[in-house]
Symmetry: C2
Subunit: 357 residues, 2 copies
């Protein structure tokens, strides 16, 4: 029976629709008997069907931040010009996920592993079958969304005209593998996790809290904390007097709402993202055959997708450009705390969208 978790509802995340793409066979051998993708759309598809933008989601995230922070009239991601489709990744808590299914063959600890490539194949099928889209003006995503963006550009070069991977890499790094391992251990070591068979995510509150504490030291930069940048971060009117309170209420507060199996599923996937799987391990070959016009957009203070890692990949993508985004928040700059960051994203995406391809 699906678990009740109010975080994964339209009330919490904003409206979305579920689209079934049927039985879906996964790269690693598992099967999702009826894969439903949670999709939020903005704007309208034009008759030529050439104004579509796809946005895949990041670890622990949904379409929400994109809807609230990145998409809007007058912005680069302008729903009055583009048909913007945000697809929640498999297992993120909104699309078919360990805690949402009543199919015992895939529920909770039985949920099969999906890979970045599975998400991309599922999204391609969805766009084609549900919306009739076979050309994308842009694929843009942050973090695990960047992994999917690279995978899209590599798997479907005829479909993807432009690509903007933000704060993420095409090939996972060893540090990323260690980082995700450490994040996952925080959850699985909680006795309440019960090998994935908890009755409520609240039974794993301690593990989720420790998971969040690791995010706080790696997802947010040393400078974010040092300068007390959090004083300017308000959420629904809430503010905080100390950094401990911000950590407790904002970071830990957010992650403790989430489903442990969903996080583990996404963490497993993140740690294995690698476009070179498509070219027998040859990263240069995988990136070298990308034809989309690509802006590689790392965040300057990112502690685990440092600019140099993104630069090394950018140099392998023909005709691509490096566009470094400024955010004192580091990786969590993706939340869009700063207008300067959002302006930089918009300027780069606008320029990219205006580029003839």
């Amino acid at each position: 029976m699906p678990l009740d978790n109010p975080f994964y509802t339209p009330e919490a995340q904003g409206p979305y629709e579920l689209h079934s793409i049927g039985r879906f066979e996964l790269e690693d051998g598992g099967v999702i008997p009826d894969l439903e993708l949670a999709v939020a759309t903005f704007g309208a598809l034009n008759e030529a069907k050439d104004n579509a933008i796809l946005i895949p989601t990041w670890f622990s995230g949904t379409h929400q931040t994109w809807a609230d922070v990145y998409i809007g009239e007058g912005r680069a991601l302008d729903p009055s010009r583009y048909f913007i489709v945000v697809v929640n990744q498999i297992g993120n808590g909104l699309s078919t996920s360990p805690h949402t299914t009543d199919d015992p063959s895939i529920a909770m600890s039985q949920f099969p592993h999906a890979r970045i490539g599975d998400d991309v194949r599922a999204q391609e099928q969805l766009l084609r079958e549900v919306f009739g889209i076979e050309r994308l003006a842009l694929v843009v995503g942050g973090s695990m969304g960047a992994q999917q963006t690279y995978e899209w550009a590599d798997r479907f070069p005829d479909t993807v005209l432009r690509a903007a991977p933000i704060a993420g890499t095409a090939q996972v790094t060893p540090h990323d593998v260690l980082f995700t391992t450490t994040l996952m251990e925080a959850i699985t070591s909680d006795p309440g996790f019960n090998d994935g068979e908890y009755a409520s995510h609240t039974e794993v509150a301690d593990g989720l809290r420790r998971h969040a504490d690791i995010w706080a030291i790696m997802g947010l930069s040393t400078e974010f904390w040092k300068t007390e940048f959090w004083r300017g971060v308000t959420v629904e009117g809430a503010s905080w007097d100390t950094f401990e309170e911000f950590q407790e209420r904002f970071v830990a507060g957010l992650f403790q709402l989430m489903d442990p199996n969903a996080l583990l599923h996404m963490g497993w996937k993140w740690a294995r993202g690698d476009v070179a799987r498509l070219t027998d391990g040859d990263l240069a070959a995988a990136l070298g055959r990308i034809t989309a016009k690509t802006f590689v957009m790392p965040i300057d203070e990112d502690m685990f997708f440092p600019v140099r890692d993104c630069l090394a990949e950018q140099q392998l993508v023909p005709g691509s450009e490096l566009r470094v985004l400024p955010s004192i928040a580091g990786h969590f700059g993706l939340f869009g705390f700063e207008q300067t960051y959002l302006d930089a994203v918009d300027a780069n995406l606008s320029e990219l969208l205006a580029t003839d391809v």
Copy 2:
């Protein structure tokens, strides 16, 4: 009864002597009835007693790395010229520590909190009473040793002629507090920890392992892992074929030898290091009154004592200089994996020691 742990022996750590400085009252109100400091010395004190160098130790460390990697004839820390005294910090497993005492008032979970200032006062008493030293040619330490170095220069300006804090700060940062909290949670959340009353450190193996995994993503840089720098790191002939094996055998292997209560004691102390405690919270005042000739020496790839944090403090120390050390390893560059790093340390310390004061 003291716990048996072969890591904290002369066989494992190299020779040292225990010196009692008697009953020691701690800043936070606790008392160590008979404080023994574990001390390793190199070279001889001259008649003028003006050739002494003091080295306080870092988190989880002992005198060993200093003896093996930093001290040697022809080096800056040359025992043929200087009398070098390495004092293991209170509670580090060699000096009086939770698991080494048979005094039930301070054993295991009962061990009282010590602060950086307590270590510095205890070291000053030791140097004076045991060795008759009232002037130090240099105090040099890394990480928590840097915290003690700053505290020394601030508390005993007439004693400290020169100071070299390496890869550490005078005032703990918010990120450091969050980092140490996260490290400690990894240990205390292990059911085997049993509120500090385990019968052997091996009962806390899982927690120590998770603690080590957090170190691997923060103590070593993204670039250390990316470039596979670990292939060149050998320990007693051992080497490794994958980064997972290096993490398992080197990083986790090392931390799993340690005593959980010792780590917790040091972590508590680290998270509260702040010379501004001596000047009513005024950091500029505390650093502004330092008279020692000071070289502030951050490591360029340090993920949690970034150069800019060290620079901000250096600018408050009169007559000081910033000397950035190169190490791809990040904070764990302190282990001295690279000859280029060691050469830079030696060049700077030699220059500092040659400076008239």
